[in-house]
Amino acid sequence: MALKGLRVVRALIASQTQVWLNTAFRNVGVLGSTLAITLAFGLFALITMLFVATCSGIGYATSHAVYEGNGGGAGAAFTVASFLGAFASVVTGDAHAFDWARLRRFPAESGWLFVAEMGAGLLHPVMLTFAAAQVGLVVGLCEGVRSLAPLALLTLALSLVVQVSLRMVMGSIVERLVRQARRVIVLVLLAGTALSWRFMSTLEPKLTPDQIAERLANLGEQITAWLTVVWRSLPASLLLEAGSRHGWSRVEAFMLPVLGVLALVGLSIALALREDGEGASETDATPERLWSFRAPVLGVARLQWLTLWRSDFGRMTLVTPVFALWPFIAMARLASSFSFSSGLDRWATISIWVMGALSSTNVLMNQFGLDRTAAKGLFLLPISDVQIVRGKALGYALFQSLQLAPVLVLTRFVMHAPWSVALGGLCMASILFVVQLTFGQWASVAWPRPLPRKGLRAPPGSLASVMASLMINATALVPLMAVWVVLGSISPRSVLPVLLLLLGLVIAAQWRMSHEAARWLSERRERVVEALG
C-alpha cells in the first residue's frame, strides 16, 4: 500500500516537473530555456545567499540562548521565515500545485495525494528561498553550539512542514474568498473598511505629546510582553526549548501543534475536494450584450473588465492587496508603538502599494489568457489590433482602479498615512501597473497560455516570462524607490509632483507604444490562437 502511495507521489511530482520543463523548452527553446534557467538560478542564488548569510548570523547570535533553554528568538526566526515564504508564494498567485478536480478519478488515497501536494509545495522558487534561509539558521545555530545540530535539524523539518502547510491554508482561504459571489466580496471589503475606520478612529487619542509618549511606552511594554509569550508559544520555539531544557524525551509532545496545522491543511483540502466534486453550475447567465461597436475600444475594455470581474484570477487581484494589508498595518502600528522610527509607516504604506501592483502581474503578463478560445472571436471582429490592444489596456486600467481604491481608503484613513504618502503610493502603484501593462502586451503575445475562469490552478507560466516580469518589475522599482528615498530626504514636497510627472510620462509612452504592440500582435497572432485553442 505504502509502495503504491509512493508511486502516486512520484508520478505527480515527476509530471509537475516535466510540465514545467516542457513549458520552458516549448516557449523559448532549449538554448533560451538554458539561458533563462541559468539566469533564474543566478538570481535565486544571489537572493538565497543574502538570506542564508543573514539567517546564519541570526542563528549564531541566538545559539547560546537556545543552548541555555531560551528558544524564543531562534524559534521566532524560523517561524517568520516559514510564514513569509508561505505568504509571499500565495501573494505571487501560486497557491496550488495540482488540479484536484482531475485527480479525483484516480484510484489514489487522498492521504497520498496530500503527501504529494506537500512535496510539490516546496518545489517553488519563493518557497525554496525561504527554506534555504532556514537552513542558514541551522548552520548559524550549529556554528554557535555544535551540540544543537540534531535539535536544529528537527526544528528545520518542522518549520518546513509548517511553511508548506501555511501556504496551502492561505491559498485555500484566498481561493474560497474569490470563489464567493462578487457582491459578497464588495460588501465584506466595504464593511471591513468602515469598521476598521471606525475602530481605529476611536483609538486615536486627543492627548498631549507627553501623554502620547507615556501611553506609547506602556503599549510598547505590553506588546513586548505579549510578543515574548507569542514567540515562546510558536511551535519552533517550543521545540527548541523542549529539546535544550528537557532533552529528547519531551520533544515529541511539542510536535502536537504541528499536527494541528497539518489537520487544518487536511480539512482545507477536503473542503476544496468537496467543492470540486459539487461541480460548477453549467447555467451561468450570459449577459445579453457585451459589445458596443459605437466605440470598439470601449467595447473591448468592457469585455476585458467583465472577463476579469467574472474570473477567480481577476477577483484574486482585488482581494490580495487587502489580504496583504493587515500584516503591514500591524507592523506599522507596532513600529510606531515601539517608537523605532516613524519612517517605517511610510515604508509599510509603500510596501502595500507595491504589493497591490505586483498582485496583478499574473493577468497582466498574459492578457489573452482569460479569453481562452474567445481570443479567436476577438480576432475575427472587424476592428484593428490597435483597438484590441488599447481596449484591453483600458479594461485593465479600470479594474486596477477598483483594486487600488480600497487600498487608498485603508492607507489614508486606517493607517492614517498623510495624503502625500498615500497619494505617492498610489502614483507608484499606477506607474508599476502601466509598466507591467506595457511589457505585458508583448509578453502576452510571446508566451500566451490559457488561464482558468474558475479556480486558481493555472498551467505553469513560461520561465522566460516569469524571469522577464521579475526583471521589469525590479527595473521599474529601482528608480521609483530612488525617488521615494533620495528625493524624500532632500525635498519631501517634491516627491508627489515628480511621481505624477513620471506617471504622465509612462502613460504617454504606453499610448505611443500601443501601435508597436499591435504590430507585434498582428505578426504573431497565430501563436496566440494556437496556444489558447
Binding site: 503504491k4 508511486r7 502516486v8 512520484r10 508520478a11 505527480l12 515527476a14 509530471s15 516535466q18 510540465v19 516542457n22 513549458t23 516549448r26 478536480a101 482531475r102 479525483r104 478519478r105 484516480f106 484510484p107 489514489a108 488515497e109 487522498s110 468537496r274 466534486g277 459539487e278 461541480g279 460548477a280 453550475s281 453549467e282 447555467t283 498551467p459 505553469p460 496556444a531
Partner: protein
C-alpha cells in the same frame, strides 16, 4: 449475474437547475450501453458522477458493489475518457502515459509495453518529444482512449469518443471496443452519432432534461419505429421543420 454499475435514484442539482433527475438503472458485467440525448440533457453530468469526478446531490452509485464516492477499489476498475479528455497537454505522449500508468500503480516496463501496443493499434505515431498540446484533435482522442485502457479496467466510460475522429480510426476504435466487450469489459458511451450507437450498443438509455426516457435493449425500445434516430426523435425531439426568415 455480476452487477458492474448500479445507479439508484441519482439526482444532481446545479443551483435551481436539475441536471440529472432521479436516474436509476443497473448494468451487468460485459454490457455495452449507449447513452444518448440532446445537448444539455444530462449525459456528461451522469458520466462525471459515475466516474467520481462529480458528487450526486442525492442517490447512490456503485461500481462492482463499491460505492464510487471515496472508493479506491471502485476507481481502480474504471477507465474513463471525459468529454474534455482531461489531458495534461504540456506532457509528451509517452510522458503522459507514464503518469497515468504510475497513478494506477503499474510498473514502468508494463506501462511502456502497453503504451507501444496501444499506440500501434490506434496508429498514434508522432515524435516521442511532441507535446500533446501540438497533437491534432483526433490524436488527442486516441491518447485519451489509450490512457483510459492502459490499466486494463473492468468498466470503461467514454464521453463522445467518436466526435472529430476520421472514418479509419473510427473503425479501429469500434473494433477495439467490441473486442473489449467480448472479453467481458463493461462499456458505457455517449454519442450524438446515432448510427454508431445503433451499430455498437445492444443496450440503449435515452436521457432528456435529466430524466431517463427509455432504457433497455435496442430491439425492445425500437418497437415499430424505423431505427434509433426515429425512436430518439419520437421520444425527445421535435419534427417540426423550421426556416430562417432572411435566407
Amino acid at each position: 449475474m455480476v452487477v458492474a454499475l448500479e445507479l439508484s435514484h441519482v439526482t444532481k442539482h446545479f443551483g435551481s437547475l436539475r441536471a440529472v433527475n432521479d436516474v436509476s438503472f443497473s448494468l451487468e458485467a460485459g454490457s455495452f450501453l449507449g447513452l444518448v440525448g440532446r445537448n444539455g440533457a444530462g449525459k456528461s453530468t451522469t458520466l462525471k458522477m459515475v466516474t467520481g469526478l462529480m458528487r450526486p446531490t442525492s442517490g447512490s452509485i456503485r461500481i462492482f458493489g463499491h460505492e464510487i464516492e471515496g472508493s479506491v477499489e471502485a476507481k481502480q476498475q474504471i477507465g474513463a475518457m471525459p468529454e474534455d479528455m482531461a489531458l495534461l497537454e504540456m506532457l509528451s505522449g509517452p510522458q503522459y502515459m507514464r503518469f497515468i500508468g504510475r497513478m494506477y500503480g503499474l510498473e514502468d516496463q508494463v506501462i511502456d509495453s502497453r503504451r507501444e501496443e496501444l499506440f500501434a493499434l490506434l496508429e498514434l505515431s508522432s515524435p516521442p518529444k511532441t507535446l500533446i498540446a501540438d497533437y491534432s484533435f483526433g490524436m488527442k482522442k486516441k491518447i485519451a482512449l489509450s490512457a483510459a485502457l492502459m490499466h486494463a479496467p473492468k468498466i470503461v466510460f467514454l464521453d463522445e469518443p467518436f466526435e472529430g475522429i476520421d472514418p479509419v480510426t473510427r473503425r479501429v476504435m469500434k473494433d477495439l471496443l467490441l473486442g473489449l466487450q467480448k472479453k467481458g469489459v463493461t462499456l458505457v458511451l455517449t454519442s450524438h452519432i446515432l448510427e454508431v450507437v445503433e451499430a455498437l450498443c445492444p443496450l440503449i438509455a435515452i436521457i432528456d432534461q435529466g430524466a431517463l426516457r427509455g432504457f433497455g435493449p435496442l430491439e425492445t425500445l425500437r418497437g415499430e419505429t424505423q431505427g434509433l434516430e426515429a425512436l430518439f426523435l419520437e421520444l425527445v425531439g421535435s419534427t417540426t421543420k423550421r426556416e430562417l426568415s432572411w435566407l
